[in-house]
């Protein structure tokens, strides 16, 4: 229905230069979204009034020479509006701008949800500011970000919006744990939580306890270079090479350490790795 009306209006607009303009419209140059507006008209008699907006069209009969009152509900979308009045002698039109209203709400996105510690520029926080009608507020406003790590003092950043978007990029802190990010615009605030997790293993070391026919291996607590323990379930690979061949076992860290047991025949060389990180190597004399 709106499309049909729009098509008709376009035809009218095309025909406007060829028609005389005995009637006139004087809208305000700009108005805030959701605010009622009055458009002064000139001429006599009745006319058909059209209001064509970015997502809305209105048609009604008006009395020329009087003001046409448009309620705020017809002006909720920001953008360029076209007011048109037509009577038997022709049509007149005038354009006016509806601007976003004041900031009322915002959307807040933080990426990623998990991030290794001590990673530069790994965290991206983005806030999009809207008015109460979901129009992006293009006027600069300020978004306050507050970062509260699990360990350490909270810190703040204030970022002005550009074309309705405020964003910042920052590195993760050195300690694992939740990092709460609070964004606020005026009275509105939203919180997101990023999980800061341990990075790659660092200084991976194991110790061996030899039995009569086998050797029991256990790592020291597996930590990253910042001293954060790698989470349980992280896979540690043990490899033993002896006279019987090569033996490997991928075992998960439990309670902070990984352990494995191998039987040995003769001299053996045992190594440990976690992902792409290599640990120490142990040589055993083995059983004769």
């Amino acid at each position: 229905m709106n499309a049909l009306l729009t098509a008709r209006l376009l035809l009218v607009l095309i025909a406007l230069p060829a028609i005389g303009q005995p009637i006139g419209l004087r809208p305000p140059s700009a108005v805030a979204a959701g605010s009622p507006v009055s458009i002064a008209t000139s001429g006599a008699g009745t006319a058909t009034f059209y209001l064509l907006g970015p997502s809305h069209a209105v048609k009604r009969t008006v009395q020329l020479g009087q003001e046409v009152s448009i309620p705020g509900s017809d002006l909720s979308s920001s953008g360029l509006y076209q007011a048109i009045a037509c009577d038997s002698s022709g049509c007149a039109s005038a354009a006016f701008q509806v601007l976003p209203a004041s900031p009322a709400r915002f959307s807040f996105l933080v990426h990623p949800s998990r991030v290794p510690v001590n990673t530069a520029n790994a965290i991206n926080a983005t806030a999009l500011v809207f008015d109460r009608f979901e129009n992006t507020v293009l006027e600069p406003s300020s978004v306050a970000f507050r970062f509260s790590p699990g360990v350490g003092e909270p810190f703040n950043r204030r970022v002005p919006t550009e074309l309705g978007i405020a964003w910042l990029q920052m590195g993760s802190t050195s300690k694992q744990g939740p990092l709460r990010v609070l964004a606020s615009v005026g009275e509105n605030a939203e919180t997101r939580v990023i999980q800061q997790v341990a990075s790659e293993a660092c200084g991976l070391r194991m110790q061996a306890t030899s039995g009569p026919r086998n050797v029991r291996l256990q790592t020291e607590p597996v930590r990253d270079c910042g001293g954060n323990p790698l989470p349980d379930g992280t896979v540690v690979s043990f490899t033993k090479i002896d006279g019987a061949g090569r033996s490997t076992v991928d075992t998960p860290i439990k309670k902070g350490v990984a352990s494995a047991q191998f039987s040995v025949s003769g001299p053996a060389r045992i190594s440990v790795a976690c992902g792409v990180v290599l640990g120490n190597e142990i040589s055993l004399g083995g059983q004769p």
Partner: protein, 367 residues
Amino acid sequence: MRRVLPLVIVLATAALVAAGWSGAGGFALRAERSAATAEQAVRALMADIQAHNWDDAYASLDHRNDIQKSDFIAEIAGTDGSLRTYSNLQSFDVWPLHADESHSTLRVRMNWSSAVGSLEELRDLSVIRDGNIWRVVWAKPNFPVVPLQVVPVNYLRWDVIGRRSDDWGGGSVDSPQVRIMSMNAVERPDRVVVLGEVENEDTVPAYLNVNATLLKPDGASLDEQGSFDAISHRLLPKQISPYRVDFPGVRLSQVKSVRMDVRALLVPASADPVISVENQNIAKDALGRKILKGVLVNQSGQTANIAQVLAVFYDSGGKVIWVNDGYLGQALLPQAPVPFAVDIPDDVAARLQSYHVVVNHYIAPTV
């Protein structure tokens, strides 16, 4: 005349039945079920196994080694939800290795059709003369006996809970971070193979798929394939898996570049069972082919019903030159070693410097 017509009908019916029996391989089957020669004895045994005719198969064996019927059936038909329990003997080849008046050794290649494709098994069978017939000496299965014990299982598990928030940016959790560590495209006689390794860099388990697209010199796509089962799809944190993507019928000269795509999903997972791969060695099988062999030991207390071995082979520069896999017919019972073997092509064997083995497993849900 009244008696001739029924007689003709009976004879005609008998002739048709005989023709049908002959056409369906009846003569061949009968020859296979007789045991006048060593080869016939083995063929008869294989035919009985193929038909799941366990009574006849067991009866045809030499029983001087006290082989039990239940053990024989368990070895052939499988137990504990192993891959063999989902398999059937599709075909077999028999050829002699040694023969004299009273003893023969024959090699049989059995092709099993299974839930994961065709599986080949080679077995050397000893056959001895017993009067007028020959009997197969079926080696007594050596099932591992694990002493009764209590295995504490304090296993780690990851669950994914909650629902996605409808609010934009409000409640999403990122997919696991995975990384392709290496990629190498190699040409095989009938195909191009893209292979390498992929690591789960995250702190949560990942279910991943690796896809590869071959690109022509003009940038257009030549073919796109996934790693299918030549990968360990479920990776725990910091775990590394080899992958292999096959492009049958493609030549490397047709390929300008390869586009890799790895997709990871957040999934629930368990860190158990832990399966060690022990005593790995490069050796030759009975046919003289190079193989990587070893034993798997399930270190946990739960049976792993179906196990798959994925082996990655490196050259002296640490470059991945081949990835191959093999399924085990047997289930991995707790603490019981199970042998495995993976084929190595001759050209790969000549260049390989090192290797690494990863084990996939499937545990049937308990009811």
